[in-house]
Amino acid sequence: MLTLEDIILAQGDFTLRAEVDLPSGGITALMGASGSGKSTLLAAIAGFLPVASGRMTIAGVDVTDLPPGDRPLSILFQDQNLFPHLTIAQNVGLGLRPDLRLTSEQGTARDAVLNKVGLAGLGGRRPAEVSGGQQSRAALARALLRGRPWLLLDEPFSALGPALRREMLTLLRDTARDEGQSVLMVTHAPEDAIAVADRTILISDGALEPPMATVDLFADPTPALRAYLG
């Protein structure tokens, strides 16, 4: 369970109130118009943005003041998920040890994850030497390897074409299910939410709507969703 209690985010004129209980397991989509604050909320949950007030807990533990690296979560950004001067294997290995001093078991675990996401044999290459889809796979592999209970994604794979993106979303859904990770995914594309999200939360007018099953939500859109879909 990821709980936001009376959270208020403030950035200049912009404020966002968040009060929500997110059950563990499955994929939750966070949707909203651009500027609605969905990426801001994700940044706050990941620990990059201090909250103005309120409390957030993950599995009952207060994480409000924890530094980003200590929170029980991993995050995938829109881009810049890999360090260009490190190899794919090193980038993924950072998920186990930030100083990259891996034991041989850790090295084996890393190679297993690389296999799993379809990057077998590419570990020695730099990010610039593989395709965009393979870069996304490497970032996903690292998140899997870190094994944190939650995985946050900010408009994931948005740099990829439609077919590749759908492929990556499917890979994300399958691997997250296998590893038992809970996923919170910011997106502005309804088709992404429909494709993989069990639940969807809509942000509108500076507040969060309660999470709803994605199927039900799109079968019978709320006024806010209708406004967003246009």
């Binding site: 990059f48 980003p68 690296g69 995050i75 998920n81 360090f83 490190l86 998920g95 100083d99 990259l100």
Partner: protein, 511 residues
């Protein structure tokens, strides 16, 4: 952790800058002790700086304009050449100017064959000549940045309206010059007010002594510490005033990118203008190349006959340059991290730029006054010199590192934080590889400036602790010109070589 170390480093630098100044001010004992000689030094410092800056800029404008509107094979080489005097040891250039303009130099040889009397390079004219040698290229590079800042669209529009070169100058180039030249003037003025090595080698006497040189003389010849401190206070006031003035102008940064390409122009294709530009560029290159070329060419023959003392001095200079480079880059790295990562880090930036206005001789005098009660300052000559070199190179290192650090944090700060990358692991895996270029540049610049520095070491230096520039100066002073030229060759190889190695190392294999 890192940012906190950076704040500490900045505080230490601020202390290291301020304590010697306080020592100087405290020892100066009021302004009543100023005599006519001191006023003379102040007056000379001011007017030669104004003249040096004016002449440098007036000569730089045609060269910059020629480089801005002409594309030719070797243009990149010329721009590179214009950057070289910045890291060329002052004393080597002085030796070169003596070879051209000195009593038995090229110019006097030519004048003699025409039956004209000899001109002397010693005195105010030599000081100004050397300042122009160093600052005309700097001014050219800075003004060239201004030229490149004129948008290409504006020049295309000018062409479509049928502007002649004169129209372009009046409507586009003159307004640009009016906005960039005051800042450049101030920078060069500032550099010339702290001139020591040039005045030491070519000036002296009543009409050609700068305040910095007067500090040295009070210190070295009269051993009058109060007078040295008083002169130090004058220099300090001068530097502070100029620094305050400089807050009103946007000071140009010396190493702008994007100078590698001339902009297409349609207004300057007449043969006359082509000739004018070719002459400007040719004269500038000759002015820079001939003096140094003469020294190096003559030096080759005597290199292997140099006494062991010269080689020892070269070794000392090399070690000091490496230590200064390591210290400066470490401090600059930590300070840049603190500027970017802490709120209200602006003061750290300010500390870094303040040392631009600090004068080496004032710092040296202050350190001497501080060290005197606890140790023999002369035995600490080399550490003190390294210390002053670090402080003086720091602003340049910061200018290279702060923007790069800002980019690194903007691009990968969150990613690093989300992976728990911090401390030494972050430094080793992320920061050092990503900041290789600016770190290499900062290290190279510091090493070159430190290896070629003839400042504080002249105050404290003893024969068994001399650096290569000091030995070179002493060889010149005893008219052992062949050996001086050979030592100059070693010094040039040392300082330009260190710069090249570090800078190259920073650029290699960048992903």
């Amino acid at each position: 952790m890192g940012p906190r170390l950076g704040v500490i480093a900045a505080a230490v630098v601020a202390g290291a800058l301020l304590l010697p100044l306080i020592a100087v001010a405290w020892r100066a004992e009021g302004w009543s002790g100023i005599d006519a000689r001191d006023w003379g030094a102040l007056w000379f410092t001011l007017w030669q700086s104004v003249v040096s800056a004016t002449v440098s800029i007036l000569l730089a404008i045609p060269v910059a304009r020629a480089l801005a509107r002409r594309d030719f094979v070797g243009r990149g080489g010329v721009v590179l050449l214009l950057g070289a005097p910045f890291i060329l040891p002052v004393i080597v250039a002085v030796l070169g100017l003596v070879a051209v303009f000195g009593r038995s130099g090229l110019v006097n040889g030519a004048l003699d064959s025409l039956g004209l009397g000899p001109v002397s390079i010693y005195g105010w004219q030599g000081v100004i000549l050397a300042h122009v040698f160093f600052n005309m290229p700097l001014a050219t590079r800075l003004i060239l940045q201004g030229w490149h800042a004129i948008p290409g669209e504006r020049l295309r529009l000018a062409a479509s309206l049928g502007f002649t070169a004169t129209d372009t100058f009046r409507r586009l180039e003159w307004p640009m010059l009016r906005s960039v030249v005051p800042g450049i003037f101030l920078v060069i003025f500032l550099i010339c007010t702290t001139s020591f090595a040039v005045a030491l080698a070519l000036g002296g006497g009543p009409g050609a002594t700068t305040v910095e040189l007067a500090i040295y003389q009070a210190f070295r010849f009269d051993f009058d510490l109060s007078r040295a401190a008083l002169l130090g206070a004058i220099q300090l006031t001068l530097g502070a005033t100029a620094a305050l003035l400089s807050l009103r102008f946007a000071l140009p940064s010396g190493f702008g990118a994007g100078q590698d390409r001339a902009v297409a122009r349609w207004d300057s294709r007449t043969p006359l203008l082509r000739l004018q530009d070719a002459v400007a560029i040719g004269l500038a290159c000759a002015f820079l190349l001939i003096p140094v070329g003469l020294v190096l060419a003559d030096g080759v023959f005597a290199v292997f006959d140099l006494p062991a003392t010269v080689w020892w001095a070269a070794f000392r200079s090399l070690v000091m340059a490496l230590i200064a480079a390591a210290l400066t880059t470490t401090i600059a790295f930590l300070m840049a991290l603190a500027v970017v990562e802490t709120r209200r880090g602006g003061w750290i930036d300010l500390v870094g730029s303040l040392s631009i206005a600090a004068s080496p001789l004032v710092l040296g005098t202050g350190l001497f006054l501080i060290l005197l009660p606890v140790a023999n300052p002369v035995s600490l000559a080399l550490p003190v010199t390294v210390f002053v070199n670090v402080v003086l190179a720091l602003p340049f290192a910061l200018r290279a590192l702060i923007p790069a650090m800002r980019t690194l944090m903007a691009d990968y700060g969150r990613l690093s934080a989300s992976l728990g990358l911090s401390g030494w692991a972050w430094t080793r895996l992320i920061a050092l590889p990503r900041l290789r270029g600016p770190i290499g540049f900062a290290a190279g610049l510091t090493a070159a400036l430190s290896a070629g520095d003839l400042g504080v070491i002249a105050l404290f230096g003893a024969p068994d602790r001399a650096t290569l520039p000091l030995v070179l100066y002493q060889l010149m002073g005893s008219y052992r010109m062949e050996e001086a030229k050979a030592a100059a060759l070693i010094l040039v190889v040392l300082s330009l070589g260190l710069f090249w190695l570090f800078e190259r190392g920073g650029r290699r294999a960048d992903a």
